[in-house]
């Protein structure tokens, strides 16, 4: 059972990393490709074909698929806090890449998010009470 737990935990960490990075960079490129205003409804579609926005959308598709894969074994109440480490990544990327100031208030917020993620990821297994579907073939 401990081998099974270690396997799940490793898989969870890998996919949580993909979920976080694809979300952060997907949103970053999407924002970069967005014009200041969307005047007509058709522009909500055409804006998605701006090169930066397209890259953003592709990354968000990766985000969707990796999140669905992660949720196929991990609890929602585990995935939500753990993947919120993306907010920290956005703040740090703003400082490193765009030279934005990180105020005391933001550092406090970063600290709280990191503490929350540590509590959830360190204090509970990714999966609690999943009823295993009877039809799933390759079980252990």
């Amino acid at each position: 059972m401990s081998h099974e737990q270690a396997r799940l935990r490793l898989k969870t960490w890998i996919f949580a990393g993909v979920v976080v990075f694809s979300n952060v960079f997907g949103n970053f490129f999407l924002k970069r490709g967005m014009p200041p205003a969307l005047a007509r409804p058709i522009e909500y579609i055409t804006v998605l074909f701006h090169p930066w926005a397209t890259l953003g959308v592709l990354l968000l598709i990766v985000w969707l698929m990796s999140r669905m894969t992660l949720l196929s074994w991990a609890d929602l109440s585990y995935v939500l806090p753990v993947t919120s480490v993306g907010y920290v990544l956005v703040a740090v990327a703003g400082k490193v890449l765009l030279n934005e100031q990180i105020t005391m208030k933001r550092w406090t917020g970063i600290g709280l998010i990191v503490a929350g993620v540590a509590l959830v990821s360190g204090g509970s297994a990714p999966q609690t009470a999943h009823p295993r579907p009877k039809t799933a073939g390759a079980g252990p």
């Binding site: 924002k31 967005m34 200041p36 205003a37 969307l38 909500y44 804006v47 968000l60 969707l64 999140r67 669905m68 894969t69 949720l71 196929s72 074994w73 609890d75 929602l76 109440s77 585990y78 995935v79 939500l80 806090p81 919120s84 907010y87 920290v88 703040a91 208030k105 933001r106 406090t108 917020g109 970063i110 600290g111 709280l112 998010i113 990191v114 503490a115 929350g116 993620v117 540590a118 509590l119 959830v120 204090g123 509970s124 609690t128 009470a129 999943h130 009823p131 295993r132 579907p133 799933a136 390759a138």
Partner: protein
């Protein structure tokens, strides 16, 4: 207009993510990552009613968010959407029947406060 969009975003994100979790749980753990197996999993998932409903709700949320970004600052949009964390954790307990122990409640609460501080 701003608050209407926020209401739509919060409701559709919450519904979409809970439905996504419910659909993927019904599917069961994905273990095989070879291309053929992924293709087979996708053909099963596109017929999963929960997954279809989740994708529809998330599409609504995505376009409403694009709309919000054109009339509001990111620093306003992000903290307000943190409310979905509260709603989804509650729904995870009562609808998805997950065991949300006190560590998860505490962690989710810290994250919500943190998101608000980082973005406000």
């Amino acid at each position: 207009m701003k608050w209407l969009l926020i209401g739509i975003i919060v409701a559709s994100t919450t519904a979409g993510e809970v439905l996504q979790a419910a659909g993927m749980r019904r599917h069961g753990e994905i273990r095989d990552f070879r291309p053929g197996a992924i293709g087979r999993a996708l053909t099963v998932l596109v017929r999963n009613r929960f997954v279809i409903a989740a994708l529809a709700a998330m599409a609504v949320s995505f376009f409403a968010y694009l709309g919000l970004l054109t009339i509001a600052e990111l620093s306003f949009a992000v903290p307000v959407t943190a409310i979905t964390y509260v709603l989804e954790t509650v729904l995870a307990k009562y609808i998805l029947k997950e065991h949300v122990n006190w560590l998860r409640w505490a962690g989710a609460s810290l994250v919500i406060c943190g998101v608000a501080l980082v973005s406000l």
